[in-house]
């Protein structure tokens, strides 16, 4: 088809696709799913982190965490806006999230159980997200690419602050703080690796997404890169990564690591993680409890508009 060939030519020439451009239906649908999933992740991702705002151990850490969660909610906003350029409304996307139809990053189905988890999320979870997002700054869809650029700037800052919190605990901390950080990485390491998705062999839609340049690297590529980047950082912290098979491979110039528990991976995606039910019911409750508020604001906006027209008339 001529449209499709022209479209693919633009992609290959690294010319951005913008909202008004023709695009294959599959491209549009895939992007809506991918962008909204990312947006939902920012929204739901507030919960495990906000869980420690009231208990942050210093005023400074409380401020840092408030700023981080605020940023992430903001990222959610950019992403919903980007998705809306593809012909879907935020309310529709939220309805999919609340009904359980739409997915969000599984990592947020794990509980934050101690203060080190807050730093750990910054270091590992944001770190893994960045690994995925940096290449997407070059993705083919203009609004998504620009949202990624804005987000990546802030995300690196968050990662550094998370790592800094762990440096404080691991290198300048008490024995209990070190234990807390070790307990934390014991729980978060494998779920962080799972953030990169199934192995390439199991990954169904990758080829088309890569051709459309809305996926830039394969799951396994990013996962390997993440491990190679992160292991030295863990060594610096003096934390032991909970993988007995982790080993430097001189030949490949990277780390060999153990097999992910794919059973746990699929269970969590299927809704059986420790926090799936709680996360979703918290978001649904916030939405339902807030109906009167949104209705109130809309009613007032209408009244104001009516008064303005009446005054003009």
């Amino acid at each position: 088809d001529a449209n499709e060939r022209a479209f693919q030519t633009r992609i290959e020439a690294d010319i951005k696709i913008e909202p008004k451009d023709w695009m294959p239906e599959g491209y549009r649908k895939t992007l809506i799913r991918q962008i909204s999933q990312h947006a939902h992740s920012e929204i739901v991702g507030q919960l495990p982190e906000a869980n420690w705002i009231t208990r942050a151990p210093t005023l400074e850490r409380k401020a840092i965490l408030l700023a981080k969660v605020q940023d992430e909610a903001g990222h959610g906003l950019y992403l919903y806006c980007a998705a809306e350029t593809l012909g879907v409304s935020r309310d529709q996307l939220l309805a999919q999230l609340h009904s359980g139809k739409a997915k969000y990053s599984s990592i947020f189905n794990y509980p934050t159980l101690n203060w080190a988890d807050v730093g750990m999320i910054g270091w590992l979870v944001d770190g893994a997200a960045i690994m995925n997002q940096v290449p997407l700054q070059r993705c083919s869809y203009g609004p998504y690419s620009r949202a990624m650029i804005r987000i990546c700037k802030e995300e690196s800052f968050h990662q550094r602050q998370g790592y800094d919190a762990l440096v404080k605990m691991c290198l300048h901390g008490t024995p209990e703080q070190k234990e807390m950080a070790q307990d934390s990485i014991n729980r978060w390491w494998w779920p962080a690796l799972m953030m990169f998705g199934p192995s390439d062999a199991q990954s169904v839609h990758s080829a088309q997404s890569m051709a459309w340049k809305i996926k830039i690297n394969t799951n396994d590529e990013l996962r390997q890169k993440f491990v190679d980047q992160t292991v030295p950082q863990a060594d610096y912290l003096g934390l032991k990564i909970p993988d007995p098979d982790l080993k430097w491979n001189e030949e490949k110039g990277g780390y060999d690591f153990g097999e992910i528990d794919w059973d746990e991976f699929y269970q969590v995606i299927a809704g059986n993680g420790p926090c799936n039910k709680q996360r979703l019911s918290d978001r649904v409750k916030a939405w339902e409890d807030g109906q009167w508020y949104r209705d109130g604001l809309m009613a007032h906006a209408r009244k104001k508009a009516e008064r303005r027209s009446a005054a003009a008339a």
Partner: protein, 251 residues
């Protein structure tokens, strides 16, 4: 005497910001819209910053080597000096916004007065805080009007919130010995002036919001002198846990 009074005053201002930031933070991730998760986080973040400034000053004045963090994390409820208003449970979102509005209207008027304080450190902190609190007040005023003059239900909820919180508005407008001392020293404005400004702005806003100002009645007091409600103890148990469980750790 003036130094003691100023220390108490700084504690009061810092504790107001701290406890209100705590209460506000409970909403993050649970607000009615994303814009409010952001908006509330922003307000809470500002207030944590102001907490650091006021409690920092209190610690200096006290001269016992206590930092803002020491004061925030190591005092029990009887030593806190916040208004009762800010420690009350959040209630529904309308009650949270109404509380913020009633507080902002006082906070803004007070900070304006404090920028002219005879005590330089107070004037400086007030200058910084005033920018942020002007924004807080504009925001909460808008929301009270929109929700008061919104739907029947939003109106009902805002009226209920106003009725519920009204008995807690007297405390911030009533001058006590500490306020007397500081007004006499030109360090803080007379609360009469603040009360007049608060009353005018609140009346104007409620009018636009089609809300009915509650009749005069009994006002609850005690927070400014450390006699709190049963709520504060729980707020502190949660807030202070890590520092109390891991004394000597730095974070």
């Amino acid at each position: 005497m003036t130094a003691d009074a100023l220390c108490q005053f700084a504690l009061r201002l810092g504790d107001n910001c701290l406890i209100l930031a705590q209460r506000t933070s409970e909403w993050i991730g649970h607000a009615p819209v994303l814009e409010e998760d952001i908006g509330l986080a922003n307000v809470a973040l500002d207030m944590v910053g102001q907490t650091q400034l006021w409690l920092g000053l209190a610690g200096e004045l006290e001269g016992r080597g206590r930092s803002a963090d020491d004061l925030a994390y190591r005092r029990d409820a009887g030593a806190f000096r916040n208004l009762l208003l800010v420690e009350l449970p959040n209630g529904d979102f309308g009650q949270t916004i109404m509380r913020q509005f009633l507080f902002d209207a006082w906070h803004h008027a007070l900070l304006k007065g404090l920028t002219r304080s005879a005590e330089r450190r107070v004037a400086e902190i007030a200058e910084k805080a005033l920018k942020e609190v002007s924004y807080h007040l504009a925001r909460s005023t808008d929301l009270v009007i929109s929700l008061g003059d919104g739907t029947d239900e939003s109106h009902r909820r805002m009226q209920a919130a106003l009725d519920e919180l009204w008995p807690y508005t007297g405390e911030m407008l009533t001058q006590d010995e500490v306020d007397d001392t500081l007004a006499a020293a030109g360090i803080a404005p007379a609360l009469e002036t603040i009360a007049a400004e608060w009353t005018a702005h609140v009346a104007d806003t409620l009018d636009k919001a089609t809300l009915r100002r509650p009749p005069p009645g009994h006002m609850h007091r005690g927070g400014k002198r450390g006699v709190h409600s049963e709520h504060l103890g729980y707020i502190l148990a949660e807030m202070q846990f890590l520092q109390r469980a891991y004394p000597g750790a730095t974070w």
